[in-house]
Symmetry: none
Subunit: 400 residues, 2 copies
């Protein structure tokens, strides 16, 4: 759709508030006849659904299982087929690495090499503390090398992010990762002619670091994948004139929020803190993205009971949001993570929109099945943003 | 969609009849738990809905509030994001100004200028009668000037339409309107080289009229915006091989019908006359657009009771249409105008399609909620035309 082309013309700034609560991986599949959401005791969500316009949204389109990147971009009103995000950039933003125009980033693993074979792609999942020490040592070593500037940023266990800073770097590179154990290491290959110089820089860096790590027992080489430069997305401010605040615990979601120009709000580590932060900053923004992770984690673990419990946990906080009286309150998900699949899936997201201009429908509680009876029907998630803006009365009429 | 590109290949002329009854601004919002349509006593529409395929249609896409132009174009099978109608042409159509190929039209305001600043963009909303007198005087003055021919047509209060008639005029012009009070007047600027001569003509006209209005107290200058030429849309005849007749009371809808090549049918001023005209011309066309305005007017007034009454009024005429036994009878709206918003809105349109090839569904009466349960689901209004053509058996098979 041409949404983005006309959005800048139609949107205007107003004091009305939108709260988008994303219950990550919410949609599920039945266990003894009931999905996670159907089995959960959710009096507040059910009451809200009965007063809301409901529907089912497809993150990309029917049948497509999205990563967190495209799933969130769609919810934020960005065409996920147009804005393709590299893994490297998501990881970098997630751990708070500042990425500028001339930077190239990639996800890294410490790995174990033996007799010219990668025997463990995760270096025995070394402790985070060891990872941090190694990154520090390597960075000191790299400082003595020639340009370009290269810095490693430790993540959890064996994971890190590497950032190359120089003019003219390209992200048109294949992964320097054999993807499976007991294969020889792979250099990166340029995927287009302008990436040839960058590939040389990366491969020379890989050789040097492997030589430097030579005496380490486990973490004695590194693998890199998801090379990416900073994507240039128009900000929510620019596209929709929204001052947006993000409340999330996990780096990935903070990173996605930063990518579209949201301000990251301070938040404690408990679920309760998500809502305390919302209350605290409520006057400062007109769009809030609140991210709840536990539903997805439980789904990824294939743990029906934990996922049900996570849904019940979040249900308790619904009245706290309603007490703020936002003009628009949406509860949905980025993608489904059914316990049965133990992974993201292509199933659509339950979606409810509460607003005084939303028409309540036949969906009498918040579940996949009830939402399928809703007034919003089944729609692509990218329409969530125009819908939220419309109900918040932040959109002018199109044409005369 | 590529609909337009394939429509010419798939459509064929046949004697079957399609009646499209547009109840302007039909969709609404609850008042004491019921929308305008739900509160209205509509035995005929309800009976028809129970026998029809129902759904909800979005004029442009979810969240977008359309003007009458894009909303009608979509219903007539024209992509509203492709065919953008200028403000000037819609305003001209709205007050019944005949616009030809060589004409350039714009919306005008009488305004107040003082010490070289526009101090009131609406000239204190002068009475319509004063507007009419001023237009008459200016037209007399303009007749004495050189070519091209320029005529003002009064609208309500401070509003008018101006029409420039000459070969080679361009509408690639910026607005001659500072948009805000207490700014200096702005000449129009050519937005492309071929509009340079037109810009000179317009600006010299502006100077002359301002000089002419010099002694007026309030209305002593004019502002122009939305310059537009007559848009060239392929006709319904060309696109769909339809001989189409339009039955409407108001200039805007007559104008829109003319724009797509419909023939305007004679009609008296009563609601009953809409259906008398349909009966009278029934043998002469194979597509009829019948426009009912009162639902929208009542919605714009925020008058729930009047809107309900308007719906009940039109319900009485449903049997008159059915008695003609059209192969396809559609009742829907161009856009919603909920009493609560007192304006066009983004809410989808209730839609029913009655035909011997339409599958009746769970929608047991004609309302927003019931239509949300319908067999047609929620769809973009541009699909209404292929659907009507299909049920009228005016569409060939696509592919082998």
């Amino acid at each position: 759709m041409d949404w983005e082309n006309i959005a800048a013309d139609l949107t205007y700034s107003s004091p009305s508030k939108i709260v988008l609560l994303v219950l990550d991986g919410l949609g599920g599949l039945p266990h003894e006849g009931k999905t996670e959401l159907e089995a959960a005791h959710t009096p507040h969500l059910d009451d809200l659904a009965a007063k809301s316009a409901c529907g089912l949204s497809d993150p990309v389109f029917m049948g497509i299982t999205p990563g967190s990147g495209p799933a969130h971009l769609a919810l934020f009103g960005y065409d996920p087929l147009k804005y393709i995000l590299g893994r490297g950039i998501l990881e970098a933003l997630g751990i708070g690495v500042t990425v500028e125009k001339n930077d190239l980033v990639a996800r890294g693993n410490f790995a174990t090499i033996k007799d010219s074979l990668i025997v463990d792609r995760r270096a025995g999942r070394i402790p985070t503390s060891e990872n941090e020490k190694l990154c520090q040592k390597i960075n000191a070593f790299l400082e003595k090398r020639k340009n370009p500037q290269i810095v490693l940023y430790p993540g959890k266990e064996h994971r890190f992010v590497v950032k190359f800073s120089d003019a003219g770097l390209s992200d048109s590179l294949s992964d320097a990762d054999p993807q499976k154990d007991n294969k020889p290491p792979m250099p990166t290959l340029p995927l287009s002619p302008e990436a040839e110089k960058t590939a040389q820089i990366v491969n020379s860096f890989l050789d040097d670091v492997t030589a430097f790590l030579n005496n380490n027992p486990q973490a004695n080489t590194i693998l890199l994948r998801g090379f990416s430069k900073f994507p240039t997305l128009p900000s929510l401010e620019k596209l929709y004139k929204l001052r947006a605040g993000a409340i999330a615990h996990y780096p990935m979601y903070k990173g996605l929020a930063r990518l579209v120009g949201m301000e990251l709000l301070e938040v404690g580590s408990a679920v309760e803190d998500l809502f305390a932060s919302l209350e605290q900053h409520y006057q400062d923004f007109d769009f809030f993205y609140v991210h709840f992770k536990k539903t997805d984690s439980a789904g990824e673990d294939g743990d029906f009971t934990s996922k049900k419990a996570a849904i019940e946990e979040i249900d308790d906080y619904i009245p706290r949001v309603l007490a703020l009286e936002p003009e628009v309150f949406v509860v949905t998900s980025d993608h489904s993570t059914p316990w049965l699949l133990k992974s993201h899936s292509w199933h659509p997201n339950p979606f409810l929109l509460f607003s005084k201009t939303a028409l309540p429908d036949r969906a009498s509680r918040f579940s996949e099945k009830e939402c399928s009876q809703g007034y919003l029907g089944r729609f692509q998630a990218i329409y969530a943003m125009p819908l939220m803006l419309a109900h918040a009365q932040k959109l002018k009429k199109f044409g005369a």
